[in-house]
């Protein structure tokens, strides 16, 4: 059990951690989260005494960590950092057995442990042990980073945004692996992130911090359902939005890059433009950018006369919706009217975008499978 008791940390006169009290139980996966500068990393690094605190005490299993030699303390606590920090001059095997070696394990025991650990993440010993970190991908490197932390079987692992620098797909699979590992090994894990999705996925308990204080410490479910502070709701906001399609508005599902032409354009000019941009329809706006209607290439062919302004032939009955319309209603309208697209308007009648089947599919896909960009 780790207990923070009235911990205060100052840099000069600036209070970084303000009278923090927190208890972390054995085998618990605790995620520290909050905006930048909230003190989450500081809180983490106090446990292995990488950062000193000014007041208060931290106990690990009833032992005040001040009474333990810092070097020995750190050998009993696994540590994983965002920059991975594998030693480039050491092989994978040497990297993993850094702490066992410091603890003077026998050579055989070290090798056995490395084999065991590499197996745990499906990296065969023979192929990987003698490689150097720069021969591995970022994701593999961080797997080794996690193994290094596990090597000497410490009961506590500290992780400082360990997956922050990885691409989303790798991050996702490493999160899964970590969760599985945790369930297998029952370590106490303290994990810092600023990604609420990651926190919800991994944590038994989320500790939300702001300005050096704990705003709420609760299970992910409880935090999602009953956020104790508006700032937490804001952090959760994106998450709850991406979880239900019901809250989507037209703004979320429309295509924003659109092409408009002023109504004073002449027909021939307009045809030239459409050829250039490979469009068969353009949106017509007035001098103030307000929506007027649409013009299609067929329309111009049929009714257009050279030298005439396109305002004369603008089709004004194209259905449009307001930007804050619920996406579902807009989609229903699109299907009902059997048209290819709806024009999405801002409140002031300027054009915000268009709603097409493609834009909707893209937006829904990102809700289901996550943002692509």
């Amino acid at each position: 059990m780790i207990i923070y008791e009235n911990i205060t940390k100052k840099y000069d006169d600036v209070i970084i951690i303000d009278n923090l009290n927190l208890t972390i139980n054995d085998g618990e996966f605790v995620v520290l989260i909050g905006p930048s500068g909230c003190g989450k990393t500081t809180t983490l690094k106090m446990i292995n005494r990488l950062i000193k605190y000014n007041e208060g005490n931290i106990y690990i299993d009833d032992k005040n960590i001040k009474d333990v030699n810092a070097v020995e303390l750190r050998r009993k606590i696994g540590y994983v950092i965002q920059q991975i920090g594998l030693f480039p001059n050491m092989t994978i095997e040497e990297n993993i057995s850094v702490v066992p070696k410091l603890l003077k394990w026998s050579k055989e025991k070290q090798i056995k442990r490395v084999k065991e650990l590499l197996e745990l993440v499906d990296l065969p010993y023979e192929e990987n042990a003698k490689k150097y970190p720069n021969e591995l991908s970022g994701g593999q490197q961080q797997r080794i980073g996690v193994l290094r932390a596990l090597a000497a079987e410490p009961p506590i692992i500290l992780m400082d945004e360990p997956f922050g620098a990885l691409d989303p797909i790798t991050r996702d699979s490493l999160q899964d692996e970590l969760k599985t590992l945790q369930q297998k090994l029952h370590k106490t894990i303290i994990f810092v992130t600023h990604d609420m999705e990651e926190a919800v996925k991994l944590a038994d308990k989320i500790v939300f911090m702001s300005d050096g204080k704990v705003l709420q410490a609760a299970s992910p479910e409880e935090m999602l359902n009953k956020p104790a502070h508006p700032m937490i709701s804001k952090f959760m906001g994106k998450l709850s939005y991406s979880r239900s399609g019901n809250d989507l508005t037209c703004e979320d599902v429309m295509k924003k890059k659109i092409f408009t032409v002023p109504e004073t354009k002449k027909t021939l000019e307009c045809i030239e433009l459409m050829k250039q941009k490979e469009l068969d329809t353009v949106i017509v706006v007035d001098a103030n950018g307000k929506y007027k209607g649409i013009v299609t290439i067929e329309y111009i062919r049929e009714y257009g006369k050279p030298g005439e302004m396109i305002s004369k032939i603008t089709k004004t009955d194209q259905p449009s919706v307001l930007i804050n319309t619920n996406a579902k209603d807009a989609i229903d309208k699109l299907i009902e009217l059997k048209c290819d697209y709806l024009v999405v308007l801002n409140r002031n009648k300027t054009v915000a975008g268009i709603l097409t089947r493609t834009s909707i599919t893209k937006a829904l896909a990102s809700v289901v499978w996550g943002e692509e960009d």
């Binding site: 990488l50 050998r75 606590i77 950092i81 030693f87 001059n89």
Partner: protein, 214 residues
């Protein structure tokens, strides 16, 4: 061709002796310089506060022409090999010192943090992480020092202590071109050979994991 054979007939023995003396000066000075520079460089990297001042002071020493420096030392220490070795050692220190210091300081801070987090002591961090990673830089400094020292050692002849410089000085005094070349060419070859040997050693001591990434 005949000139060359004649040169070797006349001066061959003297040349071998000069090369050996020259090498002796280089090895002793660079060796001493290396040890001093390494220790100083490590010490400076622990105290980055003072490093600027110290590096500046040594840099100023560096700008004093070797000729002047050996001359001054000659007055105090006399015509002894110690004079030459002191001067050459001081000149040899600087490139190694600077490269040791920057090599250690350039080690990624996150690696130091990882090492600390693993429970390494400061000494362990130095020997297991910082020095291995600074090795490349340190050896570049050593290479530079060695090559410089070979050419500076030519000046030892100025105070009559032998080495390849003797050929050059005698050549100048007697207006004998082949003597000048006979001293200059071997020192150039010596510098290049030593540089090459150090490259090879550098390649050996550079951690494998660092080679691919450069």
């Amino acid at each position: 061709m005949r000139i060359i054979t004649k040169f070797f007939e006349n001066y061959g023995e003297m040349l071998v002796k000069a090369i050996l003396t020259h090498l002796q000066y280089v090895f002793i000075s660079v060796g001493l310089g290396f040890i001093i520079a390494l220790i100083l460089g490590i010490a400076l990297s622990r105290l980055p506060k003072f490093s600027n001042i110290i590096i500046t002071i040594i840099g100023i020493f560096q700008t004093v022409p070797g000729l002047v420096f050996i001359g001054i030392l000659f007055i105090y220490l006399g015509m002894k090999p110690i004079t030459v070795i002191t001067a050459l050692t001081i000149y040899a220190i600087f490139p190694i010192l600077k490269n040791t210091y920057t090599g250690i300081l350039d080690v990624d801070k996150s690696l130091i943090e990882a090492a600390k987090g693993c429970g390494m002591t400061k000494t362990q961090i130095l020997f297991k992480v910082e020095l291995p990673l600074a090795m490349n830089s340190i050896f570049s400094g050593l290479r530079m020092s060695t090559i410089y020292t070979v050419s500076w050692a030519v000046l030892t002849a100025m105070i009559g202590l032998g080495g390849l410089g003797e050929f050059v000085y005698r050549g100048i005094e007697t207006n004998n071109q082949s003597l000048i070349i006979g001293g200059a060419l071997p020192s150039a070859i010596l510098a290049m050979t030593l540089g090459y040997i150090i490259d090879k050693i550098q390649n050996k001591v550079t951690p494998k994991g660092l080679k691919g990434s450069e």
